[in-house]
């Protein structure tokens, strides 16, 4: 049972269970010499690292630096949970992968780099999406979980599973230039739900693919998570449990806010009502994905092959091309941001989706025309079509797949971004 040394009036702490510590070989002793000569680590600390079992949920922006530094530190067993494959656009920040591994499963790609850095570490690959059906089973063999996921459903799932299993959750999250970090689910400390009892409605907070992210940011926050994991294993320093660290990369400001355990928290409070994992898609108001794919596609309602979604007709890039070539009487509208236009465009006039409601008067002349709306991938344009429909436009249509689909199928010289 984890021993909790809660000091009076101070931040909750958490420690590893007592186990017999594994020996270090002479090779390992030379490898970790810089740790061993630190009084706060020493041989015993390094042995604790070797005995530790850490699970990284996600081997992306946060998981990449996290896993690498845990390997460097000499963690004995590292589990990786990821269902995805490496894409070139990942390499802007996911430094555990490489150009050579584009197309490989992320867990396989990560394993290559991790083993290259630390061949003594045992890597356990879980090539699966984390779900309510498998989370408890996967988590049970680890001492601490590091959450590097990118969507609300999984964050609540990881949190609840950690609380139910009494395992700490080294949390990190990012958005554009800002990050948050903490340690949740320690025995006396708050959990994620104490801070955020409910998720935001879908579509309110954009994903990295939609909102963009400065590549270094998950590096900064992932290392903070790795630091908290290592401190937990060694039992040193003051954990972030009970504090929320806010990172502002542009201002290079760091501040901490106090977090409290909510006695009425449905998961970790004195009278918990959530005693089993729930349906997190439903909790977050997300429709279930129709097929296995990136969760954010379902969350942002990127459109599939259905001809009509929410009353808006979906038009394929092939159909748009045919209409343009036949000089049909259609109006094409681009609803992306101005900085995206020079990257790739099909010459359509631009009104960014965030301004559309205010500027709808500029389109008055086209109220009865067929209007084909496009963005990068088809989700913002769907929102824009709904705005126009609600403003009384007769025939707004959504270009399914957006300009990415155009670059893929119609104009192969066009870059994809």
């Amino acid at each position: 049972m984890p021993a909790s040394r809660a000091k009076d009036n101070e931040m909750p702490t958490a420690t590893l269970p007592e186990v017999e510590l594994p020996k270090l070989s002479n090779d390992e002793i030379s490898r970790y010499s810089r740790h061993l000569i630190l009084p706060e680590v020493g041989i015993e600390g390094q042995q604790k690292l070797k005995a530790a079992k850490v699970l990284c949920v996600g081997t992306g922006g946060l998981g990449a630096p996290l896993a690498l530094y845990l390997a460097a530190a000499g963690v004995g067993t590292l589990g990786l949970v990821d269902f995805d494959t490496v894409d070139a656009s990942n390499l802007q920040r996911q430094i555990i992968h490489s150009t050579a591994t584009v197309g490989k499963l992320k867990v396989d790609s990560a394993e290559l780099m991790l083993k290259g850095l630390n061949p003594y570490m045992k890597v356990v690959k879980h090539n699966t999406m984390l779900t309510s059906a498998n989370a408890l089973e996967i988590f049970k063999d680890y001492d601490i979980i590091a959450d590097g996921t990118d969507n609300f459903q999984t964050r609540y799932l990881v949190n609840d599973a950690c609380v139910l299993l009494n395992k700490p959750n080294a949390y990190g999250s990012i958005f554009r230039f800002e990050g948050q970090a903490s340690v949740f689910a320690t025995e006396d400390g708050p959990c994620y739900r104490c801070l955020y009892p409910e998720p935001p409605p879908p579509g309110l907070v954009p994903s990295c693919a939609e909102g963009g992210v400065l590549g270094i940011l998950p590096g900064l926050v992932g290392i903070i998570q790795a630091t908290e994991v290592i401190k937990f294993i060694l039992g040193i320093g003051d954990s972030l449990a009970g504090r929320l660290l806010l990172v502002d990369a542009l201002g290079m400001n760091f501040r901490t806010l106090k977090l409290r355990k909510n006695p009425d928290c449905p998961v970790c409070g004195t009278n918990p009502t959530v005693t089993a994992l729930i349906d997190y898609d439903q909790f977050c108001g997300i429709e279930k994905p129709a097929a296995v794919g990136p969760l954010e596609v379902a969350r942002d309602k990127a459109v599939g092959d259905a001809p009509v979604i929410d009353g808006i007709r979906q038009i394929s890039v092939e159909e748009l091309k045919r209409k343009l070539d036949a000089k049909e009487d259609i109006f094409v509208l681009d609803v992306r941001e101005p900085h995206e236009v020079p990257i790739a465009n099909i010459g359509a006039p631009l009104i960014p989706v965030g301004q559309l409601e205010k500027r709808v008067g500029e389109l008055a002349a086209h109220k009865d025309r067929e209007i084909v709306i496009h963005c990068r991938s088809g989700s913002r344009s769907q929102k824009a079509a709904l705005i126009l429909k609600n403003a009384g436009f007769k025939n707004p249509e959504n270009l399914a797949g957006g300009i990415l689909a155009w670059a893929d199928k119609i104009d192969k010289t066009m870059p994809k971004y």
Binding site: S173, P197, L204, V205, V213, L244, K258, R260
Partner: protein, 93 residues
Amino acid sequence: MKINIPTPLRAYTGGQQTVTVPGATVGEALEQLTGAHSELRQHLYTGDGKLRSFVNIYLNDDDIRYLPEKDATPTEESDELTIIPSIAGGCLL
């Protein structure tokens, strides 16, 4: 009193990172904020005027939920309010 606006909400304050408002209590300051930037209101508050549960308001370093007077807590000029929304990005993609 300064109110720190998080990145996801800066679109509704004309891009400003901080907004200075008068207000003798936390609640008054927030009223001034949403009065001056009306689009913020629906992001911070539900239809029946409650603060949305994925948004946290901190007075200096303290979550107002845990202050005895909550949003009726009196404030000084030198105090700062910070709005902390839930963010999830971790870049699995």
